[in-house]
């Protein structure tokens, strides 16, 4: 009833091709942004911000990055963790060498380093395809991981071998380091994620995105209609790694506040891949849904027994979480292989024609 585009006439091509052509969608988006920027900071306490929102947003950004590569360009990558690590270590080195430059600039700039590494390891994608490529990107993952451990220069020769995040301020307010409040960090992460999602949305709806999708659907045919594969694939690797790099830098600087190389291990790559596939390959909304499901679900599951007052041992809960998440992955895939984003679309369509079946 409420969700219907009747009477919303378009008078220009641009209005017709808008990403949110329906008024209700625009209102919904505005409401979500309002909640994220105003309501959550007002009501949110440290647990919500630190344990739920900040990691959720960071994983979303990483998932968007991988989605650009895997979902839009069709190149399966298992090196996400490594690329995120490059971002984090680049950010650390940059802020150590130039401590007076704004940390937010360095978080974004560290993505460039990760993009360069991504292009380097993306080169074989011109010849190698499918699962073969996935294993080739594992070379990047393990090589980078090894670098993080074996090259002390990367972590400033700290004794523990871990990244120690220094205190950095933005207009006098501490942003990173132990004294930064979770609220400041949340707002910065949120702003970066919103802006970068907007950029990604424009990328995939424009010429570049269409090139990528043509490559995904069939690279040979794409080449025949005049798309330069070298450029398209390497650009996808660069942009994707840029996003992952920024996500990695934010993860260490704005979430953990210090991290070891294990944070960027292969598990992280798999986790982000889950998010992309469960959310929906080739959809940006899917990255949000996927990150929410894969990251927040275990947190909720862990809280359930305690909330119900069931005397279950924490390790049992942990194991049960594994079982439940595993089953849910299979169930979701069987229900809707195109991911949560597709379920969302179906839901919206049903709402539009309600109360009629079609």
């Amino acid at each position: 009833m409420l969700y219907r585009e009747v009477g919303q006439y378009k008078t220009s091509y641009a209005a017709d091709m808008a990403i949110f052509p329906i008024l209700q969608d625009r209102i919904g988006l505005a409401a979500i942004l309002l909640i994220a920027f105003v309501v959550i900071p007002l009501v949110g306490h440290d647990f919500l911000l630190n344990t739920v929102m900040i990691p959720f947003l960071i994983f979303t950004l990483a998932a968007i990055g991988l989605n650009l590569l895997t979902g839009y360009t069709g190149l399966l990558s298992l090196g996400t963790g490594g690329f995120m690590g490059v971002g984090a270590y680049a950010c650390l080195k940059l802020t150590t060498i130039f401590p007076h430059v704004n940390i937010v600039i360095w978080v974004l700039a560290s993505g460039l380093f990760s993009a360069a590494v991504g292009v380097l390891f993306g080169l074989p994608s011109l010849r190698i395809k499918g699962f073969y490529l996935a294993v080739a990107t594992l070379a990047a993952q393990f090589f980078l991981e090894w670098c993080f451990i074996r090259i002390p220069w990367l972590y400033n020769y700290s004794v523990s071998g871990a990244i120690e995040v220094p205190l950095r301020t933005l207009m006098g307010i501490p942003v990173t380091g132990p004294t930064a409040t979770s609220l400041t960090r949340y707002l910065i992460v949120l702003s970066i994620v919103v802006v970068m999602t907007w950029v990604a949305s424009n990328l995939v709806h424009g010429r570049i995105g269409r090139t990528w999708m043509a490559v995904r659907d069939m690279d040979l045919a794409a080449e025949l209609v005049g798309i330069r594969l070298l450029r398209a694939k390497l650009l996808a690797f660069a942009v994707s790694s840029f996003y992952c790099g920024v996500a990695g830098a934010m993860m260490v600087f704005l979430w953990y506040g210090g991290a070891e190389a294990e944070v960027f291990a292969i598990d992280q790559s798999f986790l982000v891949l889950f998010m992309v596939i469960i959310g929906g390959l080739g959809t940006l909304t899917g990255s949000f849904f996927g990150a929410a499901l894969i990251y927040i679900l275990p947190i909720v599951l862990r809280e359930i027994p305690a909330a119900l007052g069931l005397p279950v041992h924490p390790s049992t809960v942990e194991q049960l979480t594994f079982v439940i998440v595993g089953v849910l992955i299979i169930v979701f895939l069987a229900l809707e292989p195109n991911g949560l984003a597709r379920l969302w679309q179906i839901g919206k369509q049903k709402l539009r024609v309600w109360p009629f079946p079609y």
Binding site: A136, L138, W146, R150, L220, T316, A334
Partner: protein, 318 residues
């Protein structure tokens, strides 16, 4: 110049002056390679027949080994436990086919790949609930697997071969031989190859896909039991073992995803290459290069042969 000398000359000089160390390293590499090949074999079996890139093979190895040890701990005699474990793997194969593959039939390969992740999670959780998370000791002696070492004098020193390693090489060779005969000579083997060639064509001549899938998953389960016993006897049975699945991936793509001989040759190349690299060139880079050398070797080969050494040539048509 010094660095070039260290890279190109020094390792070979070392090989020449201490042949016993070279032989020892080669043997270690051979054993590692054979074990990688065993895991890769499990992958190849499933990939050939159902097009599923089965990430759960690693956890299946752990699960099989844990079942075996767990049953033995409850007082079941070793060989009865082994039989029961085979039964468990059969149940698992049927379950996977019914509950996972059937609802996902005709989906793209990345979705099926993802589903095997779901299976991995499930087995990790279930395995920990049933058997506990602590490492266990493989019941090697109860299964009449030898222990101890044989030492050879000569070559200007001595070479020591673990008896369990010799047993591993023999068992692995026998398994590969049996599987090869099974694939080439039996009715079911022919049906499997038909399914691998084309699902549709196989269906149309009356081969039951469901049955074939159960059979390959079961065969992969049996391979997993063997792998679990051998790996478990060399170290211990714990969930950390599942990362060996990641080690099998470069072996797999190096040999070609669809080729059984490829899995074996790939395993040997990676195993020996890795050990030689770590032993002779590793110190130059500060050690630990074993972790990524295999992937880089695989990457290098793939750039020249995108389908792996023995894979079917990838033909693309518009």
């Amino acid at each position: 110049m010094d660095i070039l000398y260290k890279i190109f000359i020094d390792p070979f000089v070392q090989m020449g002056t201490a042949p016993d160390l070279l032989v020892q390293t080669l043997w270690d590499g051979l054993v590692a390679g054979v074990l990688y090949a065993l895991i890769a074999l499990g992958f190849v079996l499933i990939f050939k027949a159902s097009g599923v890139f089965n990430f759960a093979q690693g956890i299946m190895v752990v699960f099989a080994a844990l079942t075996l040890v767990g049953l033995h701990e409850h007082g079941v005699p070793a060989f009865v436990a082994l039989g029961l474990t085979v039964l468990v793997m059969l149940v698992l194969a049927v379950g996977v086919e019914r509950l996972m593959l059937r609802p996902l039939v005709n989906q793209s390969s990345i979705i099926l790949f993802m589903a095997t992740f779901g299976l991995t999670y499930f087995l990790i959780g279930a395995g920990q609930i049933v058997f506990g998370g602590s490492p266990k000791v493989m019941i090697a002696s109860d299964l009449f697997l030898p222990s101890g070492a044989i030492e050879f004098k000569g070559l200007g020193g001595f070479v020591s071969l673990q008896k369990i390693d010799i047993a591993a090489v023999i068992i692995a060779s026998v398994m590969v031989g049996v599987l090869a005969v099974f694939f080439q000579r039996t009715r079911i083997g022919r049906a499997l190859r038909a399914v691998a060639d084309s699902h549709q064509a196989a269906l149309s001549v009356g081969i039951s896909l469901e049955q074939i899938w159960v059979i390959v998953w079961f065969a992969a389960g049996v391979v997993a039991i063997a792998t679990g016993i051998l790996w478990g006897a060399r170290s211990e049975v714990s969930f950390a073992l599942q990362i060996i699945a990641l080690k099998a991936l470069p072996v797999l793509v190096l040999g070609g995803l669809t080729s059984i001989p490829g899995a074996i040759v790939g395993g040997l190349i990676i195993g020996i290459g890795e050990k030689l690299g770590e032993f002779y060139w590793g110190p130059l880079l500060g050690g630990g290069i074993e972790n990524w050398l295999a992937y880089v070797i695989a990457l290098g080969v793939l750039v020249f042969r995108p389908q792996g050494l023995f894979g079917e040539k990838i033909i693309e048509r518009i």
